[in-house]
C-alpha cells in the first residue's frame, strides 16, 4: 500500500482523468442535451490524433497547424455523424456509430502505408528512422519548465506541466459548454429529444442543430485525442477501441448526464476506481494477480454500468425529475 503515495502515479491518473473529462464532455453535450446515443465517439478522438500525427510526420506540417487539422478532421467526422442522425435515431444510430468507430479502427490497422498499421505511429512513413511527433511539445514543455523554475524555484517535470495544460483546457471547456447549455439553442435540442414535430412547428431547424451538436461534441473528442497523443508520445489503432467510448458513457452517467459539472466528477471517480484497484492488497483483490486484476477492473466497470441502469439512472449528481435515462 505504500505505493499508493507515489505522487507521479497519481499525477498520471489525474492527467488521464483530465483527458477523459474533455472526451466525456463532448459526449455529455451529445447525449445530455440532444439525446443522441453516440457509441462511436472514440473514433473522433482517433481521427483527430491520427490526422495530427500524420500531418506532422508525413507531410511535415507545422505542429500547431497539424493540431488544427486534427480538430478539423474530427469536425468533419461530426458532420458525417450528423448526416446519419438525420435518418436514424435510437438503437439504429447507436449501432451505426459503433460500425463507424470500428471502421475507423480497421482502416487505421490496415492502411499501414499511412497509419503505420498495428505498429502505430512509430511506423508512419517519414524521413527519419523512427517517427515521432512530440518534439515540439517537449520543447514547449521544457521551455515552460525553465521559466517557472527561474520565477519560482519550483521544478516541474513533463507530467506536471501536462497536468496543468490538460486541466486548464478542461476547465475552460467545462465553463464554456456549461454556458452553452443554458442557451435557447440547447433548449431546442432538449425539446427535440421528445420528437422533431414540436420544434419544427416552431420554426427550429432541428436537423441542422443536431449536426452542430455532433460537430461540437466531435471536436471536443478531437481535443482529447490530441492531448492523448501528446501524453503517450505514441498512438496505435487499439487505443481507439469501443471500450473507451463505453468508459466515457459510464463517466457521464456516474455524474448525472444532464449536468456539465457531473463530467469531471464522473471522470475523477472513474479514474480513481480504475487506478486505485491496482493497490488494493486486501481480499478479494489480493486473490488475483495483476493480469487478472485487469480483467476484474473491467468486470467492475460492467457491473457499475448495470448498477446505474438498474438502481440510479440519474447518476450521483443528477436529480430524479430531470432524469432522462429511460
Amino acid at each position: 500500500m505504500a505505493d499508493l503515495l507515489v505522487p507521479g502515479f497519481w499525477i498520471f491518473v489525474l492527467i488521464n482523468a483530465g483527458i477523459y473529462t474533455i472526451f466525456a464532455l463532448g459526449l455529455q453535450l451529445q447525449y445530455g442535451v440532444a439525446g443522441l446515443m453516440n457509441f462511436g465517439a472514440v473514433a473522433l478522438m482517433g481521427l483527430s490524433a491520427y490526422t495530427m500525427v500524420i500531418s506532422f510526420i508525413t507531410w511535415n506540417v507545422n505542429f500547431l497547424v497539424a493540431c488544427l487539422l486534427g480538430l478539423i478532421a474530427a469536425g468533419i467526422g461530426g458532420v458525417f455523424l450528423g448526416l446519419m442522425a438525420r435518418r436514424l435515431r435510437g438503437d439504429y444510430f447507436a449501432i451505426v456509430t459503433i460500425a463507424f468507430s470500428e471502421t475507423f479502427r480497421y482502416v487505421a490497422r490496415n492502411a499501414s502505408d499511412f497509419t503505420g498499421g498495428d505498429q502505430g505511429s512509430l511506423a508512419i512513413p517519414s524521413d527519419s528512422v523512427t517517427s515521432s511527433y512530440v518534439a515540439p511539445w517537449n520543447e514547449f514543455v521544457a521551455s515552460i519548465s525553465i521559466h517557472i523554475e527561474s520565477l519560482t524555484g519550483i521544478t516541474l517535470d513533463r507530467d506536471s506541466i501536462m497536468l496543468i495544460a490538460v486541466w486548464s483546457v478542461a476547465i475552460f471547456l467545462l465553463v464554456v459548454i456549461a454556458r452553452l447549455e443554458k442557451t435557447p439553442w440547447a433548449q431546442v435540442l432538449r425539446a427535440s429529444r421528445e420528437g422533431d414535430l414540436v420544434p419544427s412547428s416552431l420554426g427550429k431547424n432541428v436537423g441542422l442543430m443536431r449536426t452542430q451538436v455532433l460537430v461540437l461534441g466531435s471536436v471536443l473528442g478531437g481535443v482529447a485525442g490530441i492531448f492523448f497523443a501528446l501524453q503517450f508520445s505514441f498512438i496505435q489503432p487499439n487505443n481507439f477501441e469501443p471500450l473507451a467510448t463505453f468508459f466515457a458513457w459510464m463517466i457521464i452517467l456516474l455524474g448525472g448526464a444532464t449536468r456539465v459539472v457531473g463530467v469531471p466528477v464522473g471522470a475523477l471517480i472513474f479514474g480513481f476506481i480504475f487506478a486505485g484497484t491496482r493497490f488494493f492488497d486486501f481480499p478479494p483483490f489480493s486473490w488475483f494477480d495483476s493480469a487478472d486484476k485487469a480483467y476484474l477492473r473491467l468486470i467492475i466497470v460492467g457491473a457499475i454500468l448495470i448498477a446505474i441502469v438498474l438502481w440510479r439512472p440519474q447518476g450521483i449528481l443528477g436529480r430524479r425529475k430531470e432524469m432522462i435515462l429511460e
Binding site: 452553452l180 433548449q187 425539446a191 414535430l197 414540436v198 420544434p199 412547428s201 416552431l202 427550429k204 431547424n205
Partner: protein, 264 residues
Amino acid sequence: MNNLSTTNPILQAIDIFKSFGGVHAVAGASIDVSQGRITALIGPNGAGKTTLFNVLTGMVVPDTGQVLIEGAQFQGKPPHVIARAGVGRTFQGAHVVTRMSVWDNMMLGAGNNPGDKLRGFFQPRARKLFSQNTKSRATELLDEVGLINLKDEYAGNLSGGQRKLLDFARAMMAHPRILLLDEPFAGVNPTLRLGLTRLIEKLQSEEAVTFLLVEHDLPAVMKMSHHVYVMAEGGVIYSGPPSGVLEDQHVVDAYLGPRSWKAS
C-alpha cells in the same frame, strides 16, 4: 363550384395530388384561406383532409401541386421553413414537451430568437433583450389561456385540456399570421370548447390572425367559420359559407352514403 374565396388568399393549396403506395389520399384538391378569416376544412374519415393539412404544414411533400404562402411557393419545403414564413400550427394530440415546464415550453415558441442559433452564443446582449420581450409575451398569453399559475409545472403533468391550451398559446408566441389548427376540439369538454372558440375569435378579430381548422366536430366549426371546405375521397366537394353545407347534396352523400342507399 367556385373554389376561390372572395377576399385575398394568404394561404393557398393548388391542385394537390398525393398518393401513398398506390392509394390516392389527396386527388386534385385546392383551397384558399382568406386573410383575417376563419376557414374550416371538414370531411368524413379518409377524405384526405389530414394529408392536405400535412402538405400545408410541410410534413408531407405533395406529388404535384403548389402551396403558396402570400403568393410565394412553399410546397415541399420542410416544416421549420413554413413555420418561419409565419404559419403556426397546433397538434391533434396537443404535443407538449413533457419534460420541460410550461414556461419553458412557451419560451421555445418564441420566433426569431437570436439565442436559437449557435452563433447566438456570442451575442449575449441581443439574447438578453430578446428574452425580456419574450417573457412579457409569454406571460400575457399564459394569462389569456388561464395557465399562468401553472407556469413552473412540468408540461407532462398537465391534463389533456390544459395541454391543448398550452399547445395553442405556444403556437401564438411567434406572432404567426396564419394558424393551422389540427382538430382543436377533439376530445374537448364543452367548457373548454367554448373557451377555445372565444380565443380563436378573439385572436382573429384583435390580432388579425388567419385561421384554418381541420375538424370533425361540425357544430363548433359551423358557428365560427367564415368559409367552409368539405373534402371527400381526396377532393373538395363543397366550398362556401357554413350555412350552405348541410343543404349541399354532395356533402350529404359524402357523409351519409349515396342517395340510392336510402329508402326512397
